[in-house]
Every structure is written in structure tokens, then in C-alpha cells.
């Protein structure tokens, strides 16, 4: 009898402590895992999110970089931690697109998606001296000379290469895709005239575009955007290609929904914060908020491809 009451009271106590833990979250500093190296644009986003959200969560967020395996190391680490909402991680499209490759160990359903934060669109660029004045010039030349036009981008099996493949298919051309280890390396190669063209994010071409050293031929977005108002989208040219990078937040699937909701609410406020807006403007990225459910759907769609 005594034992029974003891057990019941223990269970009640446990239950209470669980609910109160959730109600009080966060009571201690939160760790934000970032799979990119310190100082990269993904890392900078993680750090600005950490800094601004402290105001709304009332606890500091510490960014910890866990590089390796294009994010696999970071994901495995997050899943190995207690799912109490004190370990969260930032994600990127290039990371979640790896899910089909991860030999069954990691899957989309291992995570809950908190919010998508930023979008980073793609543009196709050549250098000023290039004979290609418009995207039509490039397509016409590539049609006559299959495989002769070199186009650089970041890595293989990447979003960049995917965009080039989609473009080749839609325009009925064959390009010579040259992968690079970083996003700005192919832009340098275009500037030096070593390759003909490059797919990249605006941040990598902006400075030299404004100085007139680079010419942006096309945008892979729904609509034209600043500062490329004079440049057509691929859509306008009749190729229905919209490709963009994004970055957001996710947590282990075992984190209670209330905590995910609280995190999401904080992220909504972060996005509205002027400091975050200024950050996006300074780094040539674009606000891309998407609530958790919608975000999860997007990740699934893009991974299924």
C-alpha cells in the first residue's frame, strides 16, 4: 500500500516536472548546432539568429560548429542528445537533400522542422568581356556547340549542379559543368576568363556586378528582384525553373511540440527584428519565413526529387 502511494506520487511528480519543464523552457542556455565552418554565411546566419532570439527566449544561445559529411555529423550529434529542446540545429537545403544518400541511418522523419528563415536565390553570370550579351546568346551558342560552354558551380550532386541540369534539359542544350569547392571560386574563374559562365548566389557576384565587371544573364526565381531588375528570369524566357537555397531551423523529432511552437514564435519575432533585416540586406540574402508544417512539406518535396 505504502509502495503504491509512493509510486503514484512519484509518477505524479514526474508528470508534473515534465509539464513544468516544458512550461518553463528555456531555463538554461540553448546550444545551436551549425554544420558549416565558423565564418561561413550559414554560420553567420546561425550566429545572428542566436544573438537576436536571446531577447525573446530570455536565455543565451550558443552556436557550436560540428562540421563533417555535409551535415551528417551534426545531424547524428543532435539526434544523440536528449530531446529536451536545449539542442537545436540550423539546416540547409544542401544538407537535407542528402537524406536519400545516408544509407538509412538518418531520415527526414527524424526531425521536426521549426521554421525556414532565409532564401538565397540563384543567378547565371558571365564576365563583361563575354560575347554572350543575353541568355539567348548563350543558349544559341551552346546549341551550335554542344558541351563547349563551361559553367561553374559549387560541388557535385549539389543544388548548383541540379540547376544546371534543369536548365540544360529545359533549353535542350549541353553545357560543360565544372564543380568547385566553394561558391566564390567559380566566380573568380569567370572574372579571370578561365570558364565562360557560373551559377551562384547573388552575394558572390553582387560587388563585381555593381562595378560592371560581371553581367548577370538570368535569374532562377519567380520574379525579378533587386538589384537585378533589368535581368530576365528563366521563367520569362520560357524555362520554368525556380531554384533557391534556403536555411532554417530543425530539432529532433522527440522534442515536445510545445517547445517547437515556442521556438517558432521566437523565430517569427527574429525575422521581424530590424537587426535581422539589416543582416539579410548586408549579406545579400532574402527573408524566407515558412512555418514548420509547410517547411517540412517543402523538404520532403525537394528530397523526393
Amino acid at each position: 500500500m505504502k509502495m503504491k502511494t509512493f509510486l503514484i506520487s512519484m509518477i505524479a511528480l514526474l508528470g508534473m516536472s515534465v509539464t513544468s519543464a516544458q512550461a518553463a523552457w528555456p531555463e538554461k542556455p540553448i546550444t545551436l548546432i551549425c554544420w558549416s565552418s565558423a565564418g561561413s554565411s550559414h554560420d553567420l546566419m546561425a550566429r545572428i539568429v542566436a544573438k537576436v532570439s536571446e531577447e525573446y527566449l530570455g536565455q543565451p544561445i550558443v552556436v557550436v560548429n560540428k562540421e563533417g559529411g555535409s551535415g551528417k555529423v551534426a545531424m547524428s550529434y543532435v539526434l544523440s542528445q536528449k530531446p529536451d529542446g536545449y539542442t537545436i540545429m540550423s539546416n540547409t537545403r544542401s544538407m537535407t537533400e542528402l537524406f536519400p544518400d545516408t544509407t538509412g541511418k538518418l531520415s527526414i522523419d527524424d526531425f521536426k522542422y521549426v521554421a525556414r528563415m532565409v532564401r538565397d536565390p540563384f543567378v547565371i553570370t558571365v564576365r563583361q568581356e563575354s560575347p554572350f550579351k543575353t541568355i539567348d546568346d548563350l543558349i544559341a551558342f551552346a546549341k551550335a556547340n554542344p558541351g563547349k560552354v563551361t559553367i561553374g558551380g559549387f560541388s557535385v550532386k549539389s543544388v548548383d549542379e541540379g540547376l544546371v541540369k534543369d536548365f540544360e534539359k529545359a533549353a535542350g542544350i549541353k553545357l560543360n559543368y565544372i564543380p568547385y569547392k566553394g561558391g566564390s571560386e567559380p566566380v573568380v574563374a569567370v572574372l579571370g576568363g578561365h570558364i565562360d559562365s557560373v551559377v551562384s548566389n547573388p552575394g558572390e557576384v553582387n560587388a563585381n556586378f555593381k562595378a560592371g565587371k560581371l553581367r548577370v544573364l538570368a535569374l532562377a526565381t519567380e520574379e525579378r528582384f533587386a538589384p537585378f531588375e533589368d535581368v530576365p528570369t528563366l521563367k520569362e524566357k520560357g524555362f520554368p525553373i525556380v531554384t533557391e537555397h534556403w536555411r532554417g531551423l530543425m530539432v529532433s523529432k522527440d522534442v515536445p511540440d510545445e517547445i517547437v511552437a515556442k521556438l517558432n514564435a521566437a523565430m517569427v519575432k527574429v525575422i521581424a527584428h530590424p537587426e535581422f533585416a539589416q543582416f539579410l540586406k548586408n549579406t545579400n540574402m532574402y527573408e524566407g519565413y515558412m512555418p514548420g508544417a509547410e517547411f517540412a512539406k517543402l523538404v520532403k518535396e525537394q528530397t523526393a526529387k
Binding site: A38, D43, K51, N65, K157, E185, K213, N282
Partner: protein, 494 residues
């Protein structure tokens, strides 16, 4: 031109900037000396601290950290034979040798004066030759980088010591190890064995710590079993400054090489320090001293890697292109503060550009001041009892390799390389060529394949590009010249 100089120095002649320079240099020197915290990591860790700062203060702080840590790396190289960062790896060869000969004060002083000279020279190059050198950076495409890597590997002739064959063997181990990780062109996994961490390849930092620090610890443990440990007794004596400044030719020579290599995106301070070492040996009148405690062997790499600081800012400021890992952190930091590095920066933010230039100069000066205060302290550290010193090195090695990427895998890699370094030393093989292979292997493979992709599989691309052809010829010459030199001296003596 004078107006710009005045503009630059007046921009940073404020209390916050002065504090930033002093604090940055001190943090840089200390972090640079610690293995595991390379220049790029240290600068990246400092970025969040600059969030609330005035842009110019923030940038000057980061550049001072960069400058200080390029010097700081040599302190542990010389004092305990453990490079504080990759660009100080080659300094170990002669620097640590000098310490063993009881002359750590002299080696440290040469490294400090060389670093300061290099730092100021780099700033001058940034100020005077930014425009023409930016074009040099652009003229390097895939075939040129491949040939630069081949040229770099030819340095083996100066690193290998007496036995070129042994040097080659060890270098090929390094080249082989550099193939571990994801294939950058097909996405295939190579020697990953299911460890996700290995997909990015071996980090240069844990390898370095293992090869130098841990291997030394293993060797010393073995020695202590055979005989009672002798405490190195060194007291700090004021080095003969005539000797230190007598090396001015080496400083000048290495500053020029460091500046040119520093401008090339992807080359960076490590490659610059290796090339400076090899070139200093090539033109030296005392070639036989290299590897046995040559003063020039300390001066050249240390001067070269600090010249890289100013020079690496050239492509960053003129083209908006980062030329090294550290420079890409700086790009991020500049953008955070709403400064877009690129061709328009000189027009839109002239004060920032010339402020940065002044910052590089002043951080070199601050480095000299605090470096001088530090030298007697470092010398004291060397005289600490061996068991304590070895224990501290072991702890730092483990922390350094873990902290590099918060990964226990790196600690195992470090220990593995410790064993490798120990075995190589035991059987009288040189260790440094592994670093050469590790640093240049990836660059060589990647650009070889990329060049052939561009040319459609035609190998003539490497000789039809003039810069590439030139580099390949120089590589062949520098590889063959020691052999020829030996032959000539032999025939003249007999």
C-alpha cells in the same frame, strides 16, 4: 597618395581602434601559439564579439588577431617543436633545432623581427600594388594552380635533407592521405569507412599536432626510459641584434615571395612559408646549415607568412574575393558590418580601405612590442622540467585537436599521426614532407581534373598556358638543381 596615408592613419588614431589593435595582437599571439587554434579559427571565433562595434574598429581588431596569430604560431614551433598553426610547420625544422642547441632566444627574436618586417612589407604591397596584383590573382586558373602545386611539391628537394628518396617516400604518404574524403568531382567516398567525419578528409590541424607535438612526446618518453631526463638549461640572453638584422636580405626576399603567393586565392600562408623556406635555401650561401639550425631557415618562413596577411587582403578588397580561409572569414565580417568588399570599395569606403592598411602596419608594430615582452617568458617555459612540459603538451594536443572541430575523431587522427611521426623519426625519415603532401595534394588533384574538364581531356593545356608552363619549368629546375649542385661540387673537389 600621401592624403590616403593620412586618411588611413587618422581613421584608426582613436582610442577604440588602439585598444582593438593591442587586444587583437595579444589574443592573436596567444591563440596562434596554441596548437589547434589556427589564424582562421581564431579570427572566426572573434567575429561575434565585433557585432556591436563600429565597422572600422571591428575590422582592425580582426586584422590584428590575424597578424598576431601568424606570428604566434612560430613561438611553439621554436620553443617545443610543435607548430601553433600550419604556416609555422616549416619553422620547426630549424627553429626547434636552434632551441636544442641552446639558442631559443635568438630563434624567437629572428622570428619576431622577420614577422614584423613581413607584416609591414605586406601592408606596403597592399597599399602600393593592389591593382596590378589583383590582376595576377585573376590570371590563375585551373592549369596554373596545378602547376603551382607541382612547383610546391618540388620544394621537397630542400626539405628532404640528405636523402631525397626518403623525402619523396614520405611526401607520397602525405599525398595519399590527402585523397581521403569525398571525391569533389564524382561525390564518391574514398577511404571513409562509414565515418561521416572522414568525408571531409583529414583536417590539417590534428595531423600537424600529431606529427610534431605528440610524436615528440612519444620520443621523449622513450628517451626517459633509457636515461635520466636532462633538463634543457637555457637562460635568456639578449640576442646579438647585428646577427638578427644581418638577415635583412632574407627578410626582403621572403616578403616579396610571401606577398605574391598571398595574393593567389587558395594558396595561403602555409604554402607561402614552404616556398619561402625553399627559396631562402636555394639562394643561401650556407645551404649545409638548413635543417641543422639555420637562422635563415627561421627568418624566411616567418617573414613570408606575415607578408601574406597584407597581400591576402588585396583580392579581398579589390575584387571581393577571399584568397584564404582567414580572408573568407573577414569577408563575412565586413558584410556583417554593411561593407561590401569589391571593386567599388575604394570609392565608397576609402576611409575603411586605408584604415585597414594602417591597421596592418600598426598591428605589426604592436606585435613587435608585445612579442619582445613575451620572448623572455617563452624561454622560461622551455626550461620547465621535462615531465611537466610533456604533460602540458599532451593535454594541449588533445584539447587542440578536439577543439578544432568539436570532434573526438580528430583526437584519434591526432594520436594516429603521433605514432606515424614517432615511427618516421625513429627510422630516420623526415616528417615535414607529409605536411607538404597533405597541403598540396588536394589542390593539385582538384585543379588537374578541373583543367582537363575545361580542355576536354587535352593535356597540352598545362604547357600552352604561359604561367603554368613557367611554373613547371621552375619546378623541374628546383628539383634537379640540388642534384646538379652536388655533382658540380663533387667534380670540383676531386
Amino acid at each position: 597618395m600621401l592624403d590616403n596615408l593620412i586618411l588611413g592613419f587618422s581613421t584608426i588614431a582613436t582610442l577604440p581602434c588602439t585598444v582593438a589593435i593591442i587586444a587583437g595582437v595579444i589574443i592573436g599571439i596567444i591563440c596562434g601559439a596554441l596548437p589547434g587554434l589556427s589564424a582562421s579559427t581564431t579570427v572566426a571565433l572573434m567575429v561575434p564579439f565585433t557585432f556591436g562595434m563600429d565597422p572600422i574598429v571591428a575590422i582592425v581588431l580582426l586584422i590584428s588577431v590575424y597578424q598576431g596569430s601568424e606570428y604566434g604560431g612560430s613561438i611553439t614551433s621554436i620553443a617545443v617543436g610543435m607548430p601553433g598553426n600550419p604556416s609555422a610547420a616549416v619553422t620547426v625544422i630549424d627553429g626547434y633545432e636552434l632551441t636544442k642547441q641552446g639558442k631559443p632566444g635568438l630563434a624567437l627574436m629572428i622570428s619576431l623581427i622577420g614577422s614584423t618586417f613581413g607584416g609591414i612589407a605586406g601592408a606596403f604591397v597592399l597599399f602600393a600594388f593592389a591593382e596590378p596584383l589583383a590582376n595576377v590573382a585573376l590570371s590563375f586558373g585551373a592549369p596554373e594552380y596545378f602547376s603551382l602545386a607541382v612547383f610546391g611539391l618540388a620544394i621537397i628537394a630542400s626539405l628532404a635533407g640528405d636523402n631525397l628518396l626518403k623525402g619523396f617516400l614520405v611526401m607520397f604518404i602525405g599525398l595519399f592521405l590527402s585523397t581521403i574524403g569525398l571525391d569533389g568531382f564524382t561525390g564518391e567516398e574514398r577511404y571513409v569507412f562509414g565515418v561521416a567525419k572522414m568525408m571531409d578528409g583529414l583536417g590539417i590541424i590534428p595531423c600537424l599536432i600529431g606529427l610534431f607535438a605528440m610524436a615528440t612526446v612519444f620520443s621523449e618518453i622513450e628517451n626517459s626510459m633509457d636515461s635520466a631526463i636532462e633538463r634543457i638549461k637555457v637562460t635568456f640572453e639578449k640576442p646579438d641584434m647585428k646577427v638578427v638584422f644581418g638577415l635583412w636580405k632574407v627578410y626582403l626576399h621572403s616578403s616579396i615571395i610571401g606577398s605574391i603567393v598571398g595574393v593567389l586565392p587558395g594558396a595561403g600562408a602555409t604554402i607561402a612559408s614552404f616556398i619561402c623556406y625553399s627559396e631562402a635555401r636555394r639562394v643561401s650561401k650556407h645551404k649545409e646549415l638548413f635543417g641543422k639550425g639555420s637562422l635563415e631557415g627561421v627568418a624566411a618562413p616567418e617573414c613570408g607568412n606575415n607578408a601574406v596577411v597584407g597581400a591576402s587582403l588585396i583580392p579581398l578588397l579589390t575584387l571581393g574575393i577571399p584568397s584564404s580561409a582567414t580572408a573568407s572569414v573577414l569577408v563575412g565580417a565586413l558584410m556583417l558590418h554593411n561593407i561590401q568588399p569589391g571593386p567599388l570599395l575604394f570609392q565608397t569606403n576609402g576611409d575603411i580601405v586605408y584604415g585597414i592598411f594602417a591597421g596592418v602596419v600598426m598591428s605589426s608594430v604592436a606585435q613587435l612590442v608585445f612579442g619582445l615582452i613575451g620572448i623572455p617568458v617563452w624561454v622560461k617555459v622551455i626550461s620547465a622540467p621535462k615531465p611537466i612540459l610533456l604533460a602540458v603538451i599532451t593535454v594541449l594536443s588533445v584539447i587542440g585537436s578536439y577543439g578544432f572541430n568539436n570532434s573526438i575523431v580528430d583526437v584519434w587522427i591526432m594520436l594516429g599521426f603521433g605514432v606515424l611521426g614517432y615511427v618516421l623519426t625513429k627510422i630516420n625519415f623526415p616528417v615535414t614532407p607529409i605536411v607538404l603532401g597533405l597541403v598540396l595534394g588536394g589542390m593539385m588533384e582538384e585543379n588537374y581534373r578541373r583543367a582537363l574538364m575545361v580542355s576536354g581531356g587535352d593535356h597540352s593545356i598545362f604547357i600552352t598556358h604561359p604561367i603554368s608552363a613557367g611554373l613547371l619549368i621552375v619546378a623541374a629546375l628546383s628539383l634537379l638543381s640540388p642534384l646538379l649542385y652536388k655533382k658540380i661540387t663533387k667534380s670540383t673537389t676531386t
